[in-house]
Symmetry: C2
Subunit: 232 residues, 2 copies
DNA sequence: CGTTTGTCAAGAGCATTGCTCTCGAAGTAG
DNA sequence: CTACTTCGAGAGCAATGCTCTTGACAAACG
């Protein structure tokens, strides 16, 4: 007698097919950009287009799956890179995080555009994307919180407006940072916007004719950033 | 006898038609997002779709025209706002520039996405867009150059890498800033990326659940920025 | 074992898109 | 008046996302 399989062959085949579709879709994304065509990936898989709808209710659903995978892929890469730096070296932890973000963005240009570029027209992010989506920025703020805890990061003595303070408190409790002062959090958000702004400029070709050595440029931007944050 | 019109009625009608098409396209852009449909604007104008091709060789050509108009519209708004601030008030000039940018972006969300968001798939920016496209950032750097000239902005004494220095020299000569030191230019680019990063975050919904009062948030970000630039 | 239930790929079909071509009407210039 | 150009209309082609039906096959159950 054979043991009942833990997952039926059917469910297994289905999971494999879903993975194949996503893989083909990713390749199409990298090749032709965000104009993802269900029929095209169906052709790649030697399958008729209507069969796709057994696995994804719509093209947007496929996109959602890709976006979700993208968020976790990016977050994994970022967390791994940051995790390899000694805890006490705050500046290098931030720099490692930023480089990992940029490296991932350059390797997955169109996926990055999907995550951080202009949103797709009719698409609305479902609730379960916000978890993976916030992992990198939560990690970044964790570095700052660590610095405060270790007493090596000086807390800016700015006077925040009431609304900004409320917003920062909101973010703080959301991410679970008790020891992170709002003024420093605001600085972190500033640096975060700068990092993604710089990466976006490079990726979307807004710096052509202006910058030739993007690595050095990014490196210098990061040096200014860590100084601005009081990490170095 | 009637005088020969300076521009023939035909050329005039043509120019008007082009303007009508662009206007309808802008409205469609604002309503349905970047998925601009030639046939839809043709329907709006009560005209058959093939007639569009008498005025724009392709859908991308229409987009190019909209992008070009967008750049000049944004640049006009920014230059006007900045021009109203007394020349000596460097910080307020920068702040006015930034607010004008954000205001324009909020009023023309999809056009801003066209200009600064992820690029449209097959689209390549023609050469004649780079002029209007750089007007705002040239203006921003001009404020910094002005500050150096007036001797009120301190020049950062950073040591730039050779590549970064070369890039900054490149940008400097391109924009015609002789008196702007590379280290300050690099700071300017940093602030520029931060500004567009922050605006993009707000516009593309990357700050929902984190920020509630975007005006105050942007205001505070600007205060940090002008301090970082040495303008206040 | 045999029947039922559910899942699957295939195909036809609908409305939409960008774009091309041809045709006749109408305006313009000599 | 005649020759030329420009225009809008319409048909048509190759795509797209998505729906529906049909027939085959596997899993589950009695």
């Amino acid at each position: 007698m054979t043991a009942r399989p833990l997952v039926s062959p059917r469910a297994r085949a289905r999971a494999e097919m879903i993975e194949q579709i996503k893989q083909a879709a990713r390749e199409h994304l990298a090749a032709e950009g965000p104009n993802l065509s269900l029929r095209a990936v169906a052709r790649d898989l030697g399958v008729v287009s209507s069969a796709m709808y057994r696995y994804f209710a719509s093209r947007d659903d496929l996109l959602t799956a890709l976006i979700l995978d993208g968020y976790t892929s990016l977050a994994d890469a970022v967390e791994e890179a940051e995790g390899e730096v000694p805890r006490a070296n705050l500046a290098n932890r931030w720099i490692a995080l930023a480089w990992a973000t940029r490296d991932w963005a350059l390797e997955h240009r169109h996926e990055y555009a999907l995550l951080y570029g202009s949103p797709v027209p009719g698409y609305v992010a479902p609730q379960d994307t916000i978890g993976p989506a916030t992992r990198p920025v939560v990690l970044a703020m964790h570095i700052l919180a660590d610095g405060v805890e270790r007493g090596v990061v000086e807390v800016p003595a700015d006077r925040l407006g009431r609304e900004v303070r409320a917003d920062m408190e909101n973010v703080r409790t959301f991410a679970g940072f008790e020891g992170l002062p709002p003024t420093l959090l605001a600085r972190g958000m500033s640096a975060w916007a700068q990092m993604h702004g710089t990466i976006g400029f490079e990726l979307f070709g807004r710096l052509t004719n202006a910058v030739s050595d993007y690595d050095s440029y990014f490196d210098y931007q990061l040096r200014m950033m860590t100084r601005f944050l009081g990490l170095s």
